[in-house]
Symmetry: C2
Subunit: 250 residues, 2 copies
Amino acid sequence: MSGSLVIAGLGPGAEGLVTPDVTAALAHATDVVGYIPYVARVAERPGLTLHASDNRVEIDRARHALEMAADGRRVVVVSSGDPGVFAMAAAVFEAVEAGPPAWRDLDIRVAPGITAMLAAAARVGAPLGHDFCAINLSDNLKPWPLIEKRLLLAVEADFAMAFYNPRSRSRPEGFARALGLLQGACGDARPVIFARAVSTPEEAIRVVPLPQATPEMADMRTMVIVGSSATRIIARDGAPLLYTPRSVPA
Amino acid sequence: MSGSLVIAGLGPGAEGLVTPDVTAALAHATDVVGYIPYVARVAERPGLTLHASDNRVEIDRARHALEMAADGRRVVVVSSGDPGVFAMAAAVFEAVEAGPPAWRDLDIRVAPGITAMLAAAARVGAPLGHDFCAINLSDNLKPWPLIEKRLLLAVEADFAMAFYNPRSRSRPEGFARALGLLQGACGDARPVIFARAVSTPEEAIRVVPLPQATPEMADMRTMVIVGSSATRIIARDGAPLLYTPRSVPA
């Protein structure tokens, strides 16, 4: 039997945001590998083995998936959102590069998904409708000064900014520093979107002007989007609509 | 009858990349509005009117959709990819802001889709696996010097870069200038991915080192991704795998 490995994105949470391509990959899998809450989204069935593991063991998980694929299993590694954006795809390819040469010849593909920033943006309008950047605010895997440098350059470029992993229990201070930096560098009241658990029953969305944003508005399930200097707010009876215009006047 | 407007992303082309949420919105629509090739992807059926229009009339198209929704129709505006990324959502919200106050009270929502950069990245590995930015290279709606400024800041931030609309018949020169600027500023041989018509029968993907990238490798159906300085290439018998590692050493 010829094995395979699909690194699949489950989207932000709602079943309506899982692509048919990912659903089909799961239907053909013999083994599903991933972080506990993501594997919990996959229905059990005869012939399918679920391998759920804890956070922060991405490379071990990737190796395990590759070993099973090399043994002829049809393996799906699940990520939330899109696997290529701060998720499992890069970890799998790191393991491939460092692993036995035979792993390079495996049938491996990435099945894209709706990443959190796109789902969060959609809920409030189109804040990423013009040039933007995506930054992982965790300093588990990179030095904090690099994050600060990127934030300041992103402000200078006037990108809208999408922040993944803004805050966790083990890193409570970083996001406070990032917010302080942005409040100083931007010097305006552009909107900040805190989008928690988008498309799930726990969804909670809050929009505040940058000077009023505080660290505890985010937790590890929150996606943060900071508008550019041009981002607009359309007031109305319900939640406001936010968008960043396509045009920048000459 | 109470009208509604859904701004929906059809993804890059393959049916397997259209979310069930978007499929359901189309199934309930009375009217579908969009650029000719995107509307052509929607199946005709009794009770559904297709309104296809040419490129560069985004605001007229948005107003037409809003008028129909205000008249009680269930309207879906279709974009390829994700509607919030250089697509129709920002145009609709621009029209809402400039339009009659009653438009603000319409039932409007954005249904996200797989945007081109995520589909293109998935095809080659995980080049967007670390911090990155997305830039629209068209200067139809912003001054060229702003594009150059953003390119140089993105290089300084060491973002991977995803370029939408790199080149068209009416703007043949811009992409040549952008490539020249990047070749000078990066000074290395980081990979450049030219991903044309991803997930369609015309898909063509080419990876070249930055110094060998030439303008005619892109056309208006091409997504261009430039790696960061850290992007890795895993050589193998088939097409190489590319990824940008999650970690940056201190």
